[in-house]
């Protein structure tokens, strides 16, 4: 239906957050009709192959996520007969799972410059919108070249001086850019080893590279630091460009995950309190655990707002949006945030890239609202079919149930 009002504008995993809520609510209903535990129902209908194209996934560890997440959450103890708590405060548990692309792809490049003092600049035409791009780029180069992160400068965002990089969308930044960084750093290491071999007049294979020092495996006395190598080469700077390799054909690349929510609903006021979220995901290799937790906390809190409080309210008579400030458009605060546990079941997907990374930005948020909605159903025995689940909707639903 077309109306004379502003467009809706999705944020973070457009379509999937909304679709996940609808799909996972329906799956919950189906499980209930079959008198099955919703987790058992999902495990029984598990797809090993991509059901659309009938091809294998590069990796799919959703089953492990279901099992490990359920264990951490204590699903068996918390999920109950819907609406079975006595008293006005009712608890419930729910789950929802997530699929997303987020494997990244070419083209993505970085330029790595090694200066004669051993410092490094890495240029990448992508950006850091809070996901930690600066950190992981420096971290990967530091790991490959075995030099301290403090020696590495990362320059992002300026397309006039940086090589092409992906836009910040689709959870593709880390999976696209991190392999290009590793590629560049590996190339630089080879360059240094080749130069050192030539200077020391020994075969490359006889060079041992360790913490920025090239030494002769047969004679540890013979060694060269990075500044010495560049001096002997008569160079002031070494430059390489790394690129993201192509994705393997014949495979589907997806991230997967499940979130479990425990809620307490006050049936007198209609207020929902989220007590616990366990997020168990397959997102390939974790580059940095702290950044990962930040991504997940942010995504889950945003999902919680989408589930319970955030609402674009439009005046029905004029089509004007009324929730135009953070007083009326309510985002969750620290006081609304539950305990969050993050379980990562993947270690790295070698079929995707040389870093094995899948994106995390959007997967973190996708299943939160669906899990909370299913938990609210489990608490009440009444299903709320629109988001956000505000107290008035709960009270109306409870009231009509008793009519």
């Amino acid at each position: 239906m077309h109306i004379n009002a502003g467009k809706n504008r999705p944020f973070r995993a457009p379509g999937h957050v909304q679709g996940c809520f609808a799909l996972e609510s329906i799956l919950d209903e189906a499980a209930e009709k079959l008198n099955m535990d919703p987790l058992e129902f999902r495990l029984k209908n598990y797809a090993e192959l991509d059901p659309v194209d009938n091809i294998p996934y590069t990796s799919k560890l959703l089953k492990q996520a279901y099992l490990k997440g359920a264990e951490k959450f204590q699903w068996k103890d918390k999920w109950k007969q819907a609406g079975s708590d006595p008293g006005p405060l009712k608890r419930g548990a729910g789950l929802a799972s997530q699929i997303w692309w987020g494997g990244g792809s070419p083209p993505a490049y970085v330029t790595l410059k090694l200066n004669s003092d051993g410092s490094i600049q890495i240029h990448a035409g992508t950006q850091d919108i809070g996901g930690g791009t600066y950190t992981f780029i420096a971290q990967i180069a530091a790991e490959v070249l075995e030099i301290p992160m403090e020696k590495i400068d990362v320059i992002l965002g300026d397309t006039a001086i940086c090589p092409y990089g992906p836009s910040s969308g689709g959870s593709t930044t880390a999976p696209s850019v991190s392999p290009a960084v590793r590629d560049a750093a590996e190339q630089m290491k080879l360059k240094l080893v080749a130069a050192a071999a030539a200077i020391l007049a020994i075969p490359e294979i006889q060079i041992e590279y360790k913490q920025g020092v090239c030494s002769d495996r047969k004679n540890a006395e013979k060694k060269l630091q990075i500044p010495e190598i560049l001096e002997k080469m008569d160079e002031k700077i070494l430059i390489v460009t790394g690129a993201r390799e192509a994705n393997k054909e014949g495979y589907a690349i997806n991230s997967f995950g499940v979130q479990f929510a425990e809620v307490e609903v006050d049936t007198l006021t209609g207020k929902v309190k989220v007590l616990k979220i366990v997020a168990a995901h397959d997102i390939g290799r974790v580059l940095n655990r702290k950044l990962l937790e930040n991504q997940f906390h942010g995504g889950i809190i945003q999902g919680l707002g989408f589930a319970l409080t955030e609402e674009r309210i439009m005046d029905r008579n004029t089509g004007k949006v009324l929730t135009t400030n953070l007083h009326d458009y309510k985002i969750p605060t620290a006081m609304d945030t539950p305990d969050i546990d993050i379980v990562i079941v993947s270690e790295g997907d070698a079929l995707i890239s040389n870093t094995g990374v899948k994106g995390t930005g959007e997967p973190a948020m996708i299943p939160t609202a669906g899990a909370i909605a299913n938990a609210v159903y489990n608490a009440l025995g009444v299903r709320i079919k629109s988001l956000p689940i505000t107290p008035d909707k709960i009270l109306t639903a409870l009231y009509s149930q008793h009519q």
Partner: protein, 179 residues
């Protein structure tokens, strides 16, 4: 923003004189938590702003068994929370004062300003030329009013009919009082 004259009286009589009789011309200023927003959104365009903070004796809380509780207009909301007598004898007031808005707003906002706060109605606070802004319609009556908590036995008392509707208002919490 329209230019205005800033007056800082030190006596109640001076303040009263400066404020005059019209709310169009002069507005009182204490905590500023409502006034600043109103000025920024150009919901008010006064000629004068009268700072009440230097007026003596208006920031006190007094209690006696006989005359009950007396709260000065310049008492901060957060001061109410710290008073044991309020916690013991007026628990609802204590609870409201402890939960309204955020700590920053409670530390700035005064009880007088809170009672004089203009409606937190989203029609009033945005571009709608509503009844309270010399328009001729209250948009909340037939509009989106689920957070307009002035509902009594399914009849809706819209904000304009309650000239002295006042209360504690803030994110996540609205407790209304009627006079």
């Amino acid at each position: 923003m329209k230019r205005f004259e800033y007056i800082q009286p030190e006596k109640l009589s001076e303040a009263s004189l400066a404020l005059g009789k019209s709310w169009e011309e002069a507005l009182p200023y204490a905590g500023g938590t409502d006034l600043y927003g109103m000025l920024k959104h150009e919901l008010v365009q006064p000629d004068k702003i009268v700072n009440l903070k230097k007026l003596p004796g208006m920031d006190k809380i007094e209690y006696s068994q006989k005359s009950g509780l007396k709260i000065g207009a310049l008492v901060k909301i957060s001061q109410l929370v710290k008073q044991d007598v309020i916690k013991e004898k007026y628990p609802v007031l204590h609870q409201a004062a402890a939960q309204v808005a955020s700590p920053q707003l409670r530390n700035m906002g005064t009880i007088g300003g809170n009672l004089c706060q203009r409606p937190r109605c989203w029609y009033f606070r945005s571009e709608f030329q509503c009844l309270r802004k010399s328009g001729d319609i209250c948009y909340a009556v037939d509009g989106e009013n689920k957070y307009h908590c002035i509902i009594w036995r399914r009849a809706l008392f819209h904000c304009s009919s309650l000239r002295y509707c006042s209360g504690f208002t803030g994110p996540g919490c609205t407790i209304n009082r009627r006079k």
